[in-house]
Subunit: 70 residues, 2 copies
DNA sequence: CTCGAATCGGGTAATTTGGGTT
DNA sequence: CATGTCCAAATTACCCGATTCG
């Protein structure tokens, strides 16, 4: 089992995911829209992404210790 | 679904709910004000949220075992 | 009664969303 | 087709002092 839908996990903000991939937050949103990345929605409509899923998509590579979305 | 109103239900603090959604405790308060989330009021005016309701809003997502407010 | 942490309130920046365009 | 940018509107995050919780 990798990243199941009902698995325990930590949520990341769009900025944080974008910083890890070195892309624009908008791009991360497109990935979520395309179903390439599962997203949890806040009650206001903002998206939160699972850290474990992002890690897998990164191919096990952990980006430099950069604090995004501070 | 077993989410009765007057049923035995664990109450969560704003910090705990905020940690589950990866948002600010203030944001959870806004959700309660907007009627998106029902809140129980303490005698001092502080809000408490039903765990069962929060879980449903999370859409089956189970946050990592994190103790937010202890 | 005292104390540290948390949660009130409001007010103001920063982020996110969505569509359309390049 | 994927990504980056511009725009307006909506949502969220951080600031303060005062009050409540445990």
């Amino acid at each position: 089992m990798h990243a199941n839908a009902t698995e325990e996990d930590v949520l990341l903000t769009p900025s944080e995911v974008a910083a890890m991939f070195r892309v624009d937050p908008k791009t991360v949103t497109r990935w979520a829209k395309a179903g390439k990345l599962s997203a949890i929605r806040t009650l206001g409509g903002h998206r939160r992404y699972k850290e474990s899923e992002v890690r897998e998509l990164l191919g096990g590579f952990i980006p430099a210790p950069r604090e995004a979305a501070e």
